[in-house]
Amino acid sequence: MKKNITVIAISIVLSAGLTFAGDMARSITLPDIKVELKAGAGKDKVETLCNICHSTDYITTQPPLSKAQWTANVNKMIKVFGAPIKEEDPGKIIDYLTVQYGSGK
């Protein structure tokens, strides 16, 4: 399965001889990197809720995890980080992660 990732990288252009020393203000713009999750039941919920706090490459770059590991992670997001996930949704999110990004255990 292939996916498309669009990488738009913004780079600061420095004219020759320009140095940062003495600069009072600095600002940067981050590249806009799109992450495509695997299709499957629960994908919309995962995209909406997980993206509140972090990009979903936090999911796609994980090794295959067991249902217990995905459950622990989702519970940490709710209990420690206060993710606003309604009572009926953690199960759907855990199922999606276990099916699409699970180790089969």
Partner: protein, 395 residues
């Protein structure tokens, strides 16, 4: 410090002027070497573990130099709202809590403290996590969450002494300009025991390799705890708070902890009991060239080169094997930039037969700590430092 308005405006604009777009077709499984690469501001192409907040890894081939260029140093933030704009007219480093007085230091004030400088390895606590067996959740770094930088700044001790530590001080807490997207997200705050903060070499750095810090590496100032993992090197520093009791918020407890035993490890796949905050780095050596799976010619001379470092004790020797650990030779060591720096090692070799070879390197630091042949394990993926194997082909 004199302000240069035209330059300031230029910098503000330049940051958003230019965009270059690249379209990549990436495999859905982003494990191993298949991470996308992107060019972030002030950075060369780095591997993207995560994009928001950014966690960017340095490709191994960029470690051929003694000093890691600023644009190649890895990036690791914890919370979504990272500082994208800092105006030194506004920025102040606040020092307070259990102190005689409160300080509000501008960059000019910070630069009035005695300037100190040294070269030190910055390494993420989870560097090498993707090599754990069994695998563990968390940022799946290979070995590129490290770099060797010359840091310059003020001694933390001098700042604390100016504020005046009151009796009963226990921990010193550091906070930066980053924050989570929700108020419920624990702010990224770290602490050190007060005795540690009074050591001579703990620094509030405002320069890396003679330049201001890059935005993604913590402009305008960050804590440097040489020899200890990067988790304490709080970026975009805004507050130093002296506390009369132990600091135990999320990022100190339960995050960033290791098993409370000499190896910081437990049997693979088991549950850890008592823990302590992660601290000093383990001793490591990494072969940079030849890179894994390189094909080289029989009878041609090859330089096996790499870097070695330890948790602030310097490196006594590095030994190299070209036969999978059966025989070893002492490597030559390069320029010594001090006990916190990595040292380059090299070993001249001429393979006489064709076939597969396993190259290995093993470093020992000045107090005799070395590297295990077997990988250690803990559930958070920290402290990895086994002797690594580089497989190459000779034809």
């Amino acid at each position: 410090m004199k302000e240069d308005f035209s330059r300031r405006e230029f910098i503000k604009t330049a940051g958003v002027i230019t965009a270059m777009a690249a379209l990549g077709d990436m495999p859905s499984s982003l494990f191993g070497s298949e991470l996308p690469m992107a060019t972030y501001p002030e950075k060369t192409g780095l591997l993207v573990l995560t994009s928001r907040p950014p966690q960017l890894e340095t490709p191994m081939h960029l470690f051929t130099e003694l000093i890691t260029p600023n644009n190649a140093l890895f990036v690791r933030w914890h919370l979504a709202n990272i500082p994208l704009s800092v105006d030194l007219n506004e920025w102040r480093l606040k020092v307070g809590g259990n102190t005689g007085k409160e300080l509000s230091l501008s960059m000019a004030d910070l630069k009035k403290f005695e300037k100190i400088s040294y070269t030190a390895v910055l390494q993420c606590a989870g560097n090498g996590r993707s090599f754990f067996e069994p695998r563990v959740p968390g940022g799946q770094w290979k070995n590129g969450a490290m770099g060797n930088i010359t840091w310059t700044g003020a001694r933390l001790r001098d700042i604390l002494n100016t504020a005046g530590l009151k009796p009963g001080s226990v921990d010193v807490m550091f906070n930066g300009l980053d924050s989570g997207s929700l108020p419920s997200v624990p702010d990224f705050k770290k602490s050190l025991p007060v005795d540690k903060t009074l050591e001579e070499d703990i620094m509030v750095a405002y320069e890396m390799n003679g330049e201001p810090l890059t935005m993604l590496n913590g402009f305008p100032a960050r804590i440097i705890v040489p020899g200890w993992y990067g988790t304490y090197w709080v970026k975009a520093l805004s507050d130093i708070t002296v506390l009369g009791k132990p600091f135990e918020e999320f990022w100190m407890k339960p995050a960033y902890r290791i098993p409370d035993n000499p190896c910081g490890c437990i049997p693979s796949g088991t549950t850890q009991g008592r823990t302590v905050p992660i601290n000093r780095m383990t001793t490591r050596s990494l072969i940079i060239t030849p890179s894994p799976d390189t094909t080289i010619q029989k009878n041609k001379p090859v330089e096996i080169m790499g870097v070695a470092f330890s948790g602030g004790y310097g490196i006594r020797d590095v030994i190299v094997s070209t036969d999978g650990g059966k025989t070893w030779s002492e490597a030559r060591l390069g320029q010594d930039k001090g006990k916190y720096s990595w040292i380059q090692f090299s070993h001249s070799w001429r393979p006489l037969k064709t076939g597969k070879y396993t190259l290995m390197a093993k470093a020992t630091n000045s107090i005799g700590d070395s590297q295990p042949f077997e990988k250690l394990w803990n559930p958070s993926g920290y402290l990895l430092n086994n002797v690594e194997k580089t497989e190459i082909n000779v034809i």
